[in-house]
């Protein structure tokens, strides 16, 4: 949807590559709509800067600030020369009346985020670390575009650290479990990707673990 945002030029802010737009733990009161350039969402985990997401023009970030001033859960850093529109709770109403399409975009973003978080929650409720890691692959598979149902192999452009992060299992333990899966030929680990041989095998494994947990 092409939007005419020229009326919001007075809310425009510019950042140079490497500029922090906002910092993790900082109280948040603004949210942003990218007009040009890309923005990296990063988090420092165990003394490593981890890229969580790279956002493109047209995308919104910092949106949790609309409701309350809670600390930011990640940092936003300009990757290119970035031009963004900066809004806060006060001028949000103006934005809504002028361009309700942006609010609709936010509404969709919220539905997606709620779903993703609920899905993540389900992973974390599993007791068995192996099942947690298998369930991370199921989650990643669900997020991929529709597959040919007859092909069971799935390729994930992901790393051991990513899997550990999603599973809430320590990187060391995650690595051990992934190596175990690899020795059972259930998956293959490459520097930049992990290939799961049979995603349905993982699906069966996770659902049986979940069932036995409920009946306990």
């Amino acid at each position: 949807m092409a939007l005419d945002l020229s009326m919001f030029n007075r809310f425009a802010v510019n950042f140079q590559p490497g500029d922090i737009i906002f910092c993790e733990y900082e109280p948040g009161d603004n949210f942003y709509l990218i007009q040009s350039g890309r923005v990296q969402i990063v988090k420092i985990i165990d003394d490593l800067e981890k890229i969580i997401d790279i956002l493109q023009p047209g995308e919104i970030f910092g949106e949790m600030a609309i409701l309350e001033e809670a600390p930011r859960s990640a940092s936003a850093v300009a990757l290119d020369n970035v031009k963004a529109l900066e809004f806060n709770r006060e001028n949000f109403e103006i934005l809504m009346k002028g361009t309700p399409q942006i609010a609709l975009k936010l509404l969709k973003l919220f539905t997606k985020r709620i779903y993703d978080q609920k899905r993540r929650f389900l992973i974390l409720t599993l007791d068995d670390p192996q099942a947690k890691i298998a369930d991370v692959f199921l989650m990643l598979s669900e997020a991929q575009p529709i597959h040919d149902e007859s092909v069971n192999e799935r390729v994930f452009m992901t790393t051991v650290e990513d899997i550990a992060h999603w599973a809430g299992v320590s990187p060391v333990e995650s690595k051990r479990i992934l190596n175990q899966f690899a020795s059972q030929r259930r998956l293959e680990i490459f520097p930049d990707k992990i290939v799961v041989q049979n995603i349905n095998d993982f699906a069966r494994f996770v659902s049986s673990k979940r069932r036995s947990q409920v009946s306990e």
Binding site: N14, A70, V77, I114
Partner: protein, 324 residues
């Protein structure tokens, strides 16, 4: 076209797990959404009020229904497709704002639930410690720009926080481009060399914090005190610049012009020189001396880098006075 549909008592509008693109609004009757709470597993029944939408999230997000919609007594409702629903809310921003609030509350709640599960075993720091750690981290990996940002923010939010003196010390080294010996500092040993400076930095950032809270009078006296103490040349120069900004915000334009003019003479290489010129221009504009104001804005435009925010401000200001 939106369709009106009727359901008998005990019938089901949709089941949990269904994939269905419809969004409903209840006209009359009683409908309950049944699901299991993800945290406790307890069975929940949310009653839909007449006039309320349901099925919104799963339809818009194109994911399976998360609850079963059971009709408790004969009901009529209108079923919309996602695009029909979008047309309605685009024309009725009040509905949309209400939904945004509901959704963002739900998102907060699930965020918190996820954090609670992760917390077992993982140390989650408080925001104050977290923000300070980030500054320290960036300094350690020699990302000076990012370190300066995080440490400045720390000192703005927590001017007398538990890491304030440490943060000012780190900020100084970040600003001077050197990497301090972090191993020594975290061990908490000898730090005498920076002790006096840290006091100054602390009072400087206290005043900056007052300024950002728009307490300009208090900020002004804070900055003046730094100059009277005269312990450190660098902070003195910084404070002098801030004094000018305070005077501008206190609408003492004549004082502001005088102050910045002497600052420019005293510190011809002051890092905030261009901004100082801009404030002189703004002061002239406020006093109605348009031609002088325009002259200063032109000077700023000639000196500032293209992508600098001050460039944009000056161009806008120049256009403003030329239109008068």
């Amino acid at each position: 076209m939106p369709k009106s549909v009727s359901y008998k008592t005990n019938s089901i509008v949709y089941f949990k797990g269904d994939i269905n693109e419809k969004i409903y609004i209840l006209n009359n009757g009683r409908v309950s959404l049944n699901y299991n709470d993800i945290e406790t597993g307890q069975e929940m029944h949310d009653l839909i009020k007449t006039g309320e939408f349901f099925g919104v999230k799963s339809a818009m997000g194109k994911y399976p229904r998360e609850e079963t919609a059971v009709v408790l007594q004969d009901s009529s409702m209108i079923a919309f497709s996602v695009s029909e629903f979008e047309q309605i809310v685009l024309q009725n921003t009040r509905i949309m704002i209400k939904m945004l609030k509901v959704f963002s509350n739900q998102l907060r709640r699930i965020h918190k639930q996820v954090r609670n599960l992760l917390r077992s075993g993982v140390d989650v720091s408080d925001p104050e410690t977290g923000l300070f750690n980030i500054g320290e981290y960036y300094l350690k990996v020699r990302k000076g720009k990012q370190a300066i940002y995080a440490l400045r923010r720390y000192l703005t939010y927590y001017p007398s926080g538990k890491y304030a003196s440490e943060a000012s010390r780190l900020l100084e080294s970040a600003e001077s481009g050197s990497v301090p010996n972090l191993a020594v500092s975290s061990a908490g040993s000898s730090r005498q060399s920076g002790a006096d400076l840290s006091e100054i930095a602390k009072s400087y950032y206290n005043a900056v914090s007052l300024f950002s809270q728009e307490k300009f009078k208090e900020a002004l006296s804070g900055f003046q005190k730094i100059i009277e103490d005269g312990v450190d040349g660098e902070y003195e120069a910084k404070a002098r610049y801030e004094i000018g900004r305070c005077q501008f915000n206190l609408q003492k334009y004549e004082l502001c012009i005088k102050h910045f003019t002497s600052l420019i003479q005293k510190y011809p290489k002051h890092p905030d020189l261009i901004d100082s010129l801009f404030y002189v221009g703004k002061s002239y504009e406020e006093m109605g001396t348009i031609d002088k104001a325009a002259g200063f804005f032109k000077k700023v435009i000639a000196m500032a880098k293209d992508e600098a925010p001050i460039m944009r401000k000056a161009k806008k200001a120049l256009k403003g006075v030329e239109d008068k």
